[in-house]
């Protein structure tokens, strides 16, 4: 169905580097020379997560020469949905690199490039902070640096990194995010330090993509069990591009397991579903909807809160055609919450 209201907040759009060389002006002299000498400015450091020409990577009318690189195409998407704000996420190889310093240098350059080449050019755009996800200290430093610019509204992580997200080694990232009123955007994906599924390396991209939801579920379980929301009571987590309909059955099982196994995690004083409803948000595309509107309504009731979903097109990825960005079965009242109220409540920096 179409969005029945104006002024929506699109909580997940993707912008992409046309090539690595565009980052050179946004680096200091040492890294410019380092990267040029290695020839990395000539290389394509795109993550393996989105084969450039795969159908899902670019909707035909949003594809352009390379999906996510064209400001005008993004602006036409914002015009189509009468979007008030759109939160830009860069998915790239930079946050994944093995050298923490190299990774941090590339991430700093990406954030500088995002501010200058995108945020400065359209007042509707906001962005997530790209951080070296395997280096919590350097990631926290980058969060503090970028937080000075209010147009950065979120910290971007991937669901599957080297260690489960809740592990304490990652907590400096969460402290920096909470301190600066930045939700933690956990995007579907992997840095491929492990197989993308816990049964090994599948043959097909289709399997990888479907498996992303399992990766998000594992990350969510880790954040809850390790006590991240107890330690950081004001932290919000937004699961980006993770699918939606797995959430109710996740809550049921997590709650049941917690009742039996909570002695292991005594800090977790409430059932997992409570933490989810308080702290966790999910973007709506790709919405893995059941076959009928009735069933979708039922499923949304099962989530047990109208606060959880955030509107997103996932531009330029191809999950729906035309303007039917929402699944059938969502009431106008709920659509308003998903598209406006929930994003404003989730992202404090959207409210000046």
């Amino acid at each position: 169905m179409k969005l029945p209201i104006q002024g929506a907040i699109d909580c997940d759009v993707h912008i992409a580097l046309p090539n690595t060389a565009v980052l050179l002006p946004h680096m200091d002299e040492y890294w410019r020379e380092h990267i040029t000498q290695r020839g990395l400015d000539q290389d394509n450091l795109d993550s393996a997560a989105y084969p450039a020409n795969a159908p899902i990577t670019g909707r035909p009318d949003w594809r352009g020469t390379k999906p996510g690189t064209d400001l005008k195409l993004l602006q036409s998407c914002l015009d189509t949905f009468d979007t008030r704000y759109a939160i830009c996420n860069v998915l790239h190889g930079s946050p994944l690199m093995f050298s923490e310093d190299l990774s941090a240098a590339f991430c700093r350059a990406i954030n500088n490039w995002v501010a200058k080449e995108w945020l400065d050019r359209d007042p509707r755009l906001r962005a997530s902070i790209t951080v070296p996800i395997h280096s919590p200290e350097l990631a926290a430093a980058e969060i503090e640096r970028c937080a000075a610019d209010p147009r950065f509204v979120q910290v971007l992580l991937l669901a599957a990194a080297e260690l489960p997200l809740g592990r304490r080694i990652n907590w400096p990232i969460y402290a920096a995010a909470e301190r600066n009123n930045l939700p933690l955007g956990v995007h579907a994906g992997s840095s491929y330090r492990h197989a993308p599924t816990n049964t090994g390396w599948p043959s097909y991209f289709l399997e990888d993509y479907v498996g992303l939801a399992s990766g998000c579920a594992s990350a969510l379980n880790s954040l809850i069990c390790e006590g991240v929301f107890v330690q950081h009571p004001n932290l919000k987590v937004v699961l980006l591009e993770s699918g939606v309909t797995w959430l109710p059955n996740f809550i049921w099982r997590a709650n049941k397991t917690w009742r039996a196994a909570r002695m292991e995690v005594p800090w977790q004083t409430r059932p997992p579903g409570d933490y989810i409803r308080d702290h966790v948000r999910l973007t709506t595309q790709p919405f893995d909807a059941p076959p009928s509107a009735d069933m979708t309504q039922r499923l949304i009731e099962e989530i047990g809160s109208d606060d959880v979903l955030l509107f997103a097109t996932d531009y330029p990825h191809w999950h729906f055609d035309g303007e039917d960005a929402l699944p059938d079965g969502i009431s106008p009242q709920l659509a308003r919450r998903i598209a406006i109220d929930n994003p404003l409540n989730t992202y404090p920096r959207l409210t000046p």
Binding site: Q37, R38, G39, L40, Q42, D43, N44, L45, D46, S47, A48, A49, Y50, P51, A52, N53, A54, P55, G93, L96, M97, F98, S99, E100, L102, E162, S190, S191, Y192, R193, H194, A195, W201, P202, S203, Y204, F205
Partner: protein, 370 residues
């Protein structure tokens, strides 16, 4: 032991021999579309739409970026037309084949990545395509160059079919397998492939690299290419240990294996260690009938580049002696950044007879090229 004492000031200015055999040459394409001509339509479209998908983080690059452009190329090896080093036959003749008077060069293509491919049907098709491409672009116009058969060991049926298809074709010298795969090569699931290679008269070449999806050290992922490059040695040690201990050489007595670009100075120490612990633990592996060192001595060959540089130059000679002078084969690794020049690679004067073995005769015998 017959220890050769080096001269105090060895003359190492020009060690090359006319007619040397180069056991590691990397051909590249000028344009990946060159491979399309050798791919069926279904896979040509797949290449365009989904491309190569291996077990690593970056779509187009090795996950440890190299230190020079285009994934670690020698800076003066870019052909005059600016295409990739190793992609231009006349320029390769000028810089390598004719310059050093090469008798034969063994091609180990690191492109197409059919052996790394997660989609096994596509991987098999890509291996076949690269095999045909090597013949058309390299071996037929330049018969001094010999090809390595590409296979994907995770698809045994197609790997064996490809080996059998190329059997008897003297343009192919060996079967090329990635050093790093899903499991160690000695594991039973790969045995039929190794049997097919030996049965058809092909040695196996294990070139460094491959995207296994496993961390490249036993303690996890290191930070730097500096470390990754060193870890190739540990991968070679793992391969040798696996092949020996699983009993591969007991089961396939005519299998010959070349370890390419993984160093060689580690072989004596690994051999001693395997023998020592085999003696204590032999009841666990009763399928082994001989000492590990004997299997290694009979079945394992090594190529030289990147050549070891002992702190005392003369220690090279005892190392080679311990491995066996007849088991070491010279290689350049052209056109990569760490290429060895046959004239200067060894920092010690090698006696004439051993020099002939190392630069020429060992490889002629190994590849049956004489």
């Amino acid at each position: 032991m017959n220890v050769i004492t080096p001269q105090t000031q060895p003359d190492v200015s020009a060690q090359s021999l006319t007619g040397y055999v180069d056991c590691d040459v990397h051909p590249y394409f000028k344009n990946p579309a060159e491979l399309d001509a050798f791919l069926p339509t279904r896979w040509r479209e797949h290449r365009k739409e989904y491309g190569a998908r291996s077990r690593s983080a970056l779509a187009y690059m090795p996950q440890y970026p190299r230190l020079s452009p285009q994934n670690g190329m020698r800076m003066d090896a870019f052909p005059p037309d600016g295409s990739l080093p190793g992609s231009d036959l006349p320029f390769m003749r000028e810089q390598l084949i004719d310059l050093f008077g090469m008798a034969h060069g063994i091609l180990l293509p690191l492109l197409g990545r059919g052996g790394d491919e997660r989609n096994l049907e596509y991987g098999a098709a890509m291996c076949t395509a690269v095999n045909d491409w090597m013949l058309a672009y390299w071996c037929d116009p330049e018969p001094r160059l010999k090809a390595s058969i590409q296979i994907n060991v995770e698809h045994a049926e197609s790997a064996i079919a490809e080996i059998e298809k190329r059997a008897g074709d003297r343009r192919f010298a060996q079967v090329q397998i990635n050093q790093r795969g899903l499991e160690p090569l000695g594991r039973h699931r790969y045995r039929k492939i190794l049997q097919a290679a030996a049965a058809n008269g092909f040695p196996i070449a294990m070139h460094l690299g491959g995207t296994s999806g496993h961390a490249s050290t036993a303690g996890g992922w290191p930070s730097y290419y500096h470390e990754e490059h060193h870890a190739y040695v540990q991968s070679m040690e793992g391969i040798v240990t696996s092949l020996v201990v699983e009993g591969v050489f007991e089961q396939i007595p005519n299998l010959k294996v070349a370890l390419v670009e993984g160093g060689f100075a580690w072989i004596p120490a690994l051999t001693w260690r395997l023998d020592k612990h085999y003696r204590r633990l032999r009841t666990e592996v009763p399928h082994l009938k001989r000492l590990p060192s004997e299997y290694i001595r009979d079945h394992i060959w090594v190529t030289t580049q990147p050549v070891e540089e002992p702190e005392r130059a003369g220690d090279m000679l005892s190392t080679l002696e311990w491995i066996g002078w007849d088991r070491v084969m010279f290689s350049t690794d052209y056109p990569h950044w760490d290429q060895d020049d046959p004239r200067y690679a060894f920092k010690v004067q090698i006696p004439e007879q051993q020099k002939r073995m190392l630069f020429r005769e060992n490889a002629l015998a190994f590849y049956n090229l004489a």
